[in-house]
């Protein structure tokens, strides 16, 4: 069965420290992976997708098929990065997007 696991419910780091939000997936096909973010009192929005190989707001994520992971990383966390982050998997040939339970990132001053 397809599954997305985000093992950390809460991650707290100091401003300027590196941050890594973990995401592991279970899927036998070719995955399409996304990170979504929800800032306080705002809507859920797309942060980045693996196919674009982009860096958004200093965040990057690399798909590791061997480890079935898509961890989100940023070298220097900022206070404004504090938010809820969701990893998501879109399956091949379907329309379903499977979300992880989310990780709340708290960046301390």
């Amino acid at each position: 069965a397809q599954r997305v696991t985000q093992p950390e419910k809460l991650l707290s780091v100091f401003k300027g420290a590196p941050v890594e939000l973990k995401c592991n997936y279970s899927y036998s096909g070719s995955p399409e992976l996304f990170w979504y973010v929800q800032y306080s009192r705002q809507r859920l929005q797309l942060l980045l997708r693996h196919i674009s190989r982009e860096s958004i707001k200093g965040f990057t994520a690399d798909l590791n098929k061997g480890e079935t992971s898509f961890h989100l990383k940023k070298p220097f966390a900022q206070e404004e990065d504090s938010a809820m982050y969701y990893c998501a998997l879109r399956i091949t040939g379907g329309f379903k997007t499977i979300f992880g339970a989310g990780t709340r990132l708290f960046v301390k001053a």
Binding site: R49, Y86, G100
Partner: protein
Amino acid sequence: GAGVSQSPSNKVTEKGKDVELRCDPISGHTALYWYRQSLGQGLEFLIYFQGNSAPDKSGLPSDRFSAERTGGSVSTLTIQRTQQEDSAVYLCASSRSGGRTDTQYFGPGTRLTVL
């Protein structure tokens, strides 16, 4: 332009009542999705529309849940005989075409509380 809108923003109902939740997607978006977010849980996929048809209803948790979309635009999610476990935030999203790499744009959600 306007984003995805949902109404009502909050709904409190009594167990056993029926509720209707409405979603207005971004104009021109053919794909529409409904999700449920229960406390402490991730988003749970409920149903997907392409135009007015729903090729994927696999996420609807029971036959008390139904959804329709008319005119390729507004969608209504109906929950009949609500139960306390239906309490959650119901999110709607739309995307341009429903392609795998499409960006989904989310609405603000409807918080449903079943007493």
